[in-house]
Amino acid sequence: MSVFDGLKYRKVSSPIHDLDPRIKFFYVCAIFVGAILFWTILPLLILFAIQIPFVLLAGVKREWLRSLRGTIFLAAIIFLTNLIVRYFASGGALLVTDLEFAAAMTLRFIVLVGSFSVFFLTTSPDHLGLALERTRMPYEFSFAFTTAVRFVPVLAEEAQTIMDAQKARGLELEKGNFLKRIRNYIPVLVPLIVSAIRRSLELAEAMESRAWGATKKRTNLYILRLKQGDFILFVITIVILMVTVYVRIYIDVPGLSQFLSGVS
């Protein structure tokens, strides 16, 4: 549930919230590319640090940290798997570089989640839909996408209520062996699915009674327009992209241990 909280948009105004979703998405992609280009800690740390001013400017520090905390479990798995693989690959010896590698892979994952989280925390589903529409995607698809995004928190809340209702009838989700535990979720999943289907049918009826698809060419109440801030972010993103690619090709990035011994 906490991971969902980290992706939940709350309507507030901030320089970051007001940015154009397309440019923001471009920025997230640039961070993605950067994160995938590097295997060492230092550049990944820098990519991580770049997120921080964004988070602070947007005023979503609490939610952002919560979404990062939600990834601890996965991050731990990534760290351990990498460590174990390196351990066996190097024939049973564990070097400092192996630790560094595992840490870097984990950090890469955290950078990816972090940038995604900033994007979702500061972009309203409506704006996202508008941006999708501008990519000439059929409106049906962009509408389905935004609706799905919007209903995730509703569904999460409903799942909680259903779990409570079944617990009140003596259901113990944590009881039994592995298979039994999966079966324990049937009384939760059935009402959840049934009510989701019922809701989607109701939504379809409500939409049709409000003339969904009556005209081929729709107009929008809000129109996305690039503003000054968007150009600034665009330039920043281009710079990030160029620097990362340049560093990747022309500079031999030192590992953390090398770097530290070089400094002292």
């Binding site: 209520t161 259903i162 617990k167 009140a168 009838r169 003596g170 113990e172 049937i186 009402p191 009510s195």
Partner: protein
Amino acid sequence: MIEVQDVGFTYPSGVEALRGVAFTVNNGEFIAIMGQNGAGKTTLVKHFNGLLKPSIGRVLVDGIETKKTSVASLAKKVGFVFQNPDHQLFSETVEEEIAFALKNFGFEEETIKKRVTWALSFLELKKYRKTSPFMLSGGERKRVALASVLAWNPEILILDEPTIGQDYKQKEKLRQFILQMQTQEKTIVIVTHDVEFVAECNPRVLLMTEGRIVADGQGKNILANPEVLAKSSVVPPQVVQIFSRLNELELPKNVIDLYEAKDLLLKKLEKRLR
């Protein structure tokens, strides 16, 4: 007996839903918790079977602190019928739906059969025994949900918004049912903002606003007190409204029962006509 001792509760999202709530529900009592939407009524009753644990203070059910036990063991004592039956119906037949909780609580096969049959006939659902609960009407689904809880015969029964979406006949049946449960010394807690329904039953009333209890007393005294009611945006029952508008007749102020009101009015009128 349920003892609520200075309970405060804050949701993880930061919403403070209960503040300094303290009262005791005695065995065999019938209580209505009233108040506007978002007052914290559901949050409060979810503490009675341990679904929520207090952030501050303690809740004791028959002397056992809810923090120190599981929902499953409390649930056997405290039956909780949720507002929306669609949040719990999942079985292929009504019969299985009712047996679900009984199986969870580990009743014997024989007992389960007996109790299911009893619950079906008690709520007039016998003809739907093999029907899918999803095929039933709203009111019937609500009755199946109620039957599925009554089946294990809990000592304390909590009904969250039982009158929503029910027609007059269903409400009257519900009232009869509550009276019947009372003769069996069951403790009943209903959450509602249906004033007329509460006026007809005249239970003890707890009035809530913004997570606090603003009034606690016999329905008669609270529902006939417009100032107190206004604090939690509850409109007084119609009888009270009529009596306050007929103030020339000098009628008593604490009448909420229709029949009592009728007798009083008739007496006054007779006196005047004579």
